[in-house]
Symmetry: C2
Subunit: 339 residues, 2 copies
DNA sequence: CAGCTATGTCCTTCATTGATACCATTTTGC
DNA sequence: GCAAAATGGTATCAATGAAGGACATAGCTG
């Protein structure tokens, strides 16, 4: 590895001069800068991020907290797309991303905060974790720049998808098609879930439709089996719904399987919608009606905001950024057959 | 941040002693070690990875090269699962993973190798990249420990899924069900593709079935549209196949859509199989017959091997590790209807 | 106009970052 | 008193930043 020392020797100047020349300080002559830069290039020099970080306490490294329980991290289509977009955005600014270790069983376990300090991360992006985890709370309470994705959070900036608008779009669409008995299957209880349910209720009331508690059924996100069970309960009600909104695209297939298993046709006999807009759902027939979340936008907004916080280029106010999703009219929604 | 200096001050010993105590050197008394460790714990000390790395030239950081063109990185279900498993394995040994920047358009662009050195990565895992890329070649030729996933490679250790056995299992299964006119749709030309085609041909010959060139059709991996086109060409042959093997699960849905669009039933009129075993394919009906790649095993083998190379605990011979996939008998394969 | 200070440019020296390695030194036990 | 055990001092890793020095030019005074 060629270091500044080598460049200094070749140029017959001091190491400090090389440092200043490469960092474009004002007190180095243009001639020297040119020479140093040329030699650096010729020798294939690249700075040593480790040494620089030690001195400047800036690593140009951002931590990513994507916990993987039950397929809800990297292998979660929605978050994978958000992360992908996030990654591209921060890379443009010269940052790399490192996963925060989440192996809590190791003997010498570090908390997320300790781990962030251990690696001297400049900032952390949080997504897809349990926000009641004491370690997450500790991280949120720290002075490390943090941006949270898809979770409401009082203390730090968060990027939310617009659940109200998503559910509202689906509800409006359902009403247009004449549905009144609309069921909503929820994911696990969380701020997101509550926001969606609230919106569902508001819309039902706005439309003057009866809000029946048995039409609001609790399942789990991305749990095909659980959602299948809940769906079959819904269908065996005396007055089954004519339209079911599922917690997400994955889960909806649990419901779809059950519906078909009972000999009902989609969308002729019953309409269904997912949520998220995963790529496969747009391709498999019947194409799923869903809300496509703008993962690209969420990732890049998160990146921009986090870098702002890190570099202090903007006042570091916490902020709630809401990204709106778009209704995808697939082939699983049709007119209420009872009309 | 509490550093060794602080511990040293509290314990009234030198920094050197603290360092040795924490690293369990033999020349420190048990009493001192105990005291130092206790104080370190009480003060909430964690080592500064940056400083340690500067001195020891070991970062406990592994680079990951997952290029994202055309949804073939993080958002690629197969690789996401492999990476997830890889990540869990290396974390157990105290390593973190960092993505190698792949933004080639930046003004101050570093090659993968330069970037690896810049971050002083201990090793790199490569997957899902174009192996003809000069930067990849440069990295493979370097002295940095590298493990490649899913690509044959002469110079470095690679983890391959057993394409021969995968195709063979599908072919055997097809023959059991009485199929003779078996078509194989390939992905883009690559070592993997060629291995699969070779195996397809070998099996056809072994069975004494006629190998027709028009039954070997070229598409792209994960390209639903392209695969749909190729499938419709296959189906319009004078003697269409009774069984089609698709390049991967995603792509197979392109074919499935076309088949259904022509009014044919799966598997009654035609049998189809995917490849990879993505989670959704096991859930959507009809459940896809496919080869489930052992992503867990591939990730953990890659991790183990890379750490071996890094830590030199085993002779650092390059090695080709083959991980066998498993036939998943879904609902898209049935007896040849012509029998 | 010599000689002295003032100013500014450009560069070097030295200390520093946190941890570790090596060698030197002190303590302990016999 | 001497070996063995325990501890301390210092250089080092690659880079940065503060402080300062060398040199040239400019301005001022006697």
């Amino acid at each position: 590895m060629v270091s500044m020392k080598d460049i200094a020797a070749t140029c017959k100047v001091s190491v400090a001069t090389v440092s200043k020349a490469l960092n474009d300080h004002a007190d180095i002559s243009e001639d020297t800068k040119k020479m140093v830069r040329k030699v650096a290039r010729d020798m294939g020099y690249f700075p040593n991020s480790v040494a620089r970080a030690l001195k400047t306490n800036k690593t140009y490294n951002i931590g990513v907290l994507f916990v993987e329980e039950a397929h809800s991290g990297l292998t979660h289509d929605f978050f994978a797309h958000v992360l992908d977009s996030f990654k591209r955005s921060v890379e443009e600014k010269g940052y790399d991303i490192t996963f925060l270790n989440c192996n809590k069983s190791r003997p010498n376990h570090m908390s997320y905060l300790e781990h962030s300090r251990y690696r001297a991360l400049d900032g952390v992006v949080i997504a897809c974790v349990n926000f009641e985890d004491p370690e997450v709370i500790e991280l949120l309470a720290s002075d490390i720049p943090v941006v949270a994705i898809d979770r409401e959070c009082d203390t730090k900036t968060c990027i939310l998808s617009d659940n109200e608008s998503g559910i509202a779009q689906l509800m409006d669409y359902a009403r247009e098609l004449g549905h009144e008995r609309i069921a909503y299957i929820t994911g696990k209880d969380s701020a997101v879930t509550r926001a969606r349910v609230r919106c569902y209720r508001d819309k039902m009331e706005e439309f003057g439709f009866e809000v029946r508690d048995e039409y609001i059924a609790a399942s789990e996100y991305r749990d095909i089996g659980q959602t299948a069970m809940v769906t079959s309960e819904l269908l065996s009600l005396p007055k089954p719904p004519t339209c079911i909104l599922f917690p997400d695209d994955y889960a909806s297939y649990g419901g779809i399987n059950v519906i078909r298993g009972m000999g009902m046709r989609i969308p002729d006999d019953i309409s269904v919608a997912g949520y998220d807009g995963i790529s496969l759902a747009a391709q498999i027939q019947p194409r799923l009606t869903t809300i496509r979340q703008d993962t690209e936008e969420m990732g890049s907004r998160a990146a921009k905001k986090l870098i702002n916080l890190i570099e202090g280029t903007a006042p570091a106010e916490r902020e709630t950024i809401v990204v709106t999703g778009k209704l995808v009219k697939g082939e699983t929604f049709a007119k209420n057959p009872e009309l």
